[in-house]
Structures are given as C-alpha cells and as structure tokens.
Amino acid sequence: MRETPLSNCEREFILNFIAQQKRLDGRNAYDYRDLRIAFGVSLGCCHVELGKTRVLAQVSCEVGEPKQTRPHDGVLYVNVELSPMACPSFEQGRQSEEGIELSRLMERCLKESRCLDMESLCIVSGEKAWHVRVDIHVLNHEGNILDCASIAAISALAHFRRPDVSVHGEEITIHTLEDRNPVPLSLHHMPLLVSFAFFSQGKFMLVDPSSKEEKVMEGKMVVGMNKHRELCTLQVTGQMLLLKEQVLRCSSIALTKVTKITELIHEALDKDKQARLKGEKHGFAMLVSGDRVTANRLPTTEVKVDTLEISDEMERSQSSSEDGESQSGNEPMEEQIVATPKESAVEILTKGVGVIGEGGTSTWLDIPQADSKQTAAKKRKHKLEKMEEGIDDEGSSEEEEKVILK
C-alpha cells in the first residue's frame, strides 16, 4: 500500500505552528514523548513505547566460528526489520532506503561504539565464539523509530543472559540453565541515539519528531552518546547547513536526554529483576490492565470435563466431526443470506451491540425484518443496477452489516 502524502495545507500549517514555537501534540521543542520500557519473560526481550511508536527487541545467541580477521572476538549481528506491520507503506521483504539507513545507524551505534565487550564472547580463540544477535522489530511507526529502537536494543542487551560455558582442555561444556546461572553480557556503556529535526534552514529545531514532523522536516541530525558524554555516532542528513553552535547545542541537549533515559533503563531493569527475584508475575501479559475499554483480562479458567461426559460426547463428536469435515469449507455467501431470515433469538444488549459472533439478524440498522427474504433478493438486483450507475451506497452496506454479526 502506498503512503498517503501530506497535503500542502497540512504541511504549511505544521511549519507555521513550529515557527510559533508550538508543536502539534502540545510538547515543548526539547521534550520527549512518554517513554515506557517493559521486559518479556524470556531474557533479552524488551518492548519500548515512545509515545505511540513501538519497538520490540530480542537478543539471542548461538555458538559459532569467530570471524577470520578477528579470531579472539565474538560476533554481534544487528537486524532491523521494517515490515508492513509498522506502517502500510513499508514493504515485506524489500528493504527501503529508510530501512537501510536505520539498520546502518543502529549497527554503528551498537558495534562501533564498542559498548559490548567482544573478547568476553570468545570461547576458544579462532574456533568457537558466541554469536549474539539483536533482532529489532518495529511494531508501530509514529515517528522517531530510531531513538526508540536504540533504547530497545541497548535495554535488551543489558537484560540478556547467555548460558555459562566452561573449557577443560579440548572439551567445551555449555551449561544448562538449571546447572549454572546464565551470565550477563559485559556492557561497558550504553550508547543511545537522539534525533533532532530541523526546519527552515536550521532555524527551528525539535527533539523526538513525530511522524508528521518527520514528513515536513528539512534535515535531521542524529547524535549517539552515552551518559559519560562520549560521542559515539553523529550523522546529518537532509539539505541544510548547520552552524558549529547548533551542533554543540544539540550535543548538550543530547547529553541531558541520554542521562535521563539511561536512568529510566536502569530503573526498568531493576524493577524487572526485583519482580523475578520475588517470583512475581512479570512479562508482557502483565502490561495489559483490565481498566481500559480496549483491554480485557480473563483469569485462568478450569474446563470441567467429566469422564462420563467424554465417552458420551465421543459418540456425538464422531458424527459431528465427520459432518464438520464435509462442511467446513467456505460456505457460499448466497446460502448465508438466505439463511438469515430464520428467526433466531437475538438478545439486543444495548444500542449498536448485537450478540457478537453468534449469528442472527443485523441489529445495527433499523430495517424491517418481515420480508427480508424477498427484499434481499430484490436488493441484490438493485445493487447490480446501482453499481453500474456508480451510486452504490445503502444496499451494499446493509448486506455487509448482516454478515459481520454472524
């Protein structure tokens, strides 16, 4: 699917708004959106939400041969996946320009900053070494994927534990997790990326651009830094020239942001550790609270099946499952429509809500139900005519609604 382009009108509006020192979501120029870091049950699984942007990172490992050029080092792979999941304009399988830029920057941030001690990943020099793999999945694209991905990747690396290994002469043993506690990777520091968007020839600058701001920006500067004020990555893209003062100012802003985010990561790691120690429930399932309208929670349910019932049902299921096989295909729609007028008891819960997924007649629109069998046939005829004329409104939507409620 193609990306919907931003209209000129909207573009100008956003630019004018920025010129007035305002942002669409009411943030100040140097504000980040809300950041939420969560860890999964498996080690090295991290989920980061930056506003509505969501990224999932998973660290995994395997034992393999080290690179010929670096026989004493382990290997770190960084893989950024931009799939249609995040945004309909991303294509499956094919890396876009944006995707390549993203994965290159992430690789530079993680590998070239030497944050991970590669030598500690070596088992036998030149023969066996750990290959650590970081998979970054972008789940939702609402701007500034890069910062979100870098936070997720570094938190996942800090959270990850690899199985312990011992070497006795020629013999290498990889200990199971029950045998020996898994060991953390040695992470020297935490490089994080902070993006700055520039507008009107670098006159205005925003931190953490949203997707709309990203569409209208003239240029972008990415600063990779750790909390010790060590610059790890710097990249400027777009058609603009920057003054020395601007770059310096960006780096000092980046420092404050990085310090704050690093603190947050440590806090999240600590909280997760505490929960694990106490044996409390943790992981993604805990993120969902039943308070919100869109979220629901069902406690563990026991399924009661008596032994007698089973033998009873066995015979029934025998016959019904054979029926099922013959009927389980996609039933033609015509049959479905004809079957609708059969008066099934539909309990109307409230306005607009039928009995979800239990079939029966439509409760979405007030349609006289009495002669629906005939009208359905008529309407189909009408619809065909209408479609030719190009005014296809009532009939089709009504038919659709009926099917939804089945």
Partner: protein
Amino acid sequence: MSSFTVVKTEDLDAEQEKGSACVLRGQTSDLGCLTRQDGSVSLSQGDTTSIAVVYGPAEVRINKEQIDRATVDVVYRPKVGLPRPEHRKQERILKNTLEAAIAANLHPRSSISIIIQETEDLGSNLSCCINSSCLALLDAAVSMNFMVAAVTVAMKENSDMVLDPMKRDETEAKSVITYVFDSMKLQVLTIVSNGKFSRAEYKRGLSLAREAVKSVLQFYRESMSKKLLMSE
C-alpha cells in the same frame, strides 16, 4: 544450530498457578493497541503473547488481484532471525484457516492482509496466533462468516492430556494437537498435529478442546462488547 533465546525455568514457574491439567491459562487482550493499522490486537495466553494487525479491505497489487473475491494475505513474523520454512508452514496454516472465516467474496478486487508478530513463544503458540488474528479481524470490522478459535492439547506418554500446554509440556509430550473450531456450530475447521496419537486420544482431545474453546469464544465476546459498549 540456530540462534536461541534464553528463558529461566524459575521465571516460567512464577505464578503459573496451573493446578490441574484441564486449565486454560489466563488470557489478556488489548484491542487497537497500535495506531497505524485498521485493526490490531495484542493477545496473551499465559506467557505466550502475539500481536496481530489487519489492513483491509484495501487496494491490492495488480498481480494478486482476484476479480471475484478479496485476496487474503497472511504474514507470520518470528521473533528471532529471518522466516524459515517452518514459519512458512505456519503462515500457510493460518492463511487456510482464516480464508475460510473471512467473507472474502464481499470485497472483490481488494486485499485483506494480516500480519502476526510472535512476541513470546512459551507454548501453544499456534493457537495464540490464530486467536489473535481472529480478534484483530474483529477489531478491524472485517466481514466474517464465523469467528475462529483455537485450543492446543498435548498428550503425554501415559496418555494424560494437558490443555493449553506450556513449552515444557509441549517438549515432554508425545504429541501436540491444535484444534481450530468455528464459532457457529463449534465444528472442526483445522487440525494441526505433531507426533503420534491413537484415534481414542484424538477424540478425547477433541471433546476437551471443544469444551475449552467455549471460554475462548466467550472471551472474544467480552473483549469486543467491552470495547463497543463503552467507547460510545
């Protein structure tokens, strides 16, 4: 050897509160958890979680266009590494199951694409994927002939059955069967099995799964009606 993730056993045991074998683990759903898609849901069954999103009915690529029905596209995305043949197989199973459920002939020359991201596979992953994609379809308000719901049953060596097995149960079991039912008549839609089992065992599993699937369907209904009733 392929890349593997590390899961501590004591973490898995944390409050699993799985007393008897005939228990469905706790489920949570979060409808519309993402913003760029037509429908999205993050579903968890115990510790196993997956995120499914739906686009559609939308514009279709010309080489995939079907003149009488919508093209259903399913993409399964593993958490670690690139998709391998086993994931393609899973994609295929999901596609065949969902194609039966979606009323594709209502939307000719369009595409309905479903993307499923594995976020945590700790047992009964396939049923979690099927259930999450069905909820995502409901969230996107795609017309369906019926809903689908899946339950996994593992058979142990001593022919004991474990409903909704965890990863450990799955590896210890001699066979694992995933039953997929439709919501209208609770008829079998898809069976995915692994390992050896006898006919009697299959039938026992079927009746257990059929009983269990009712609570999954009830959960769908609760989640949907909560959203529809309260978001007015």
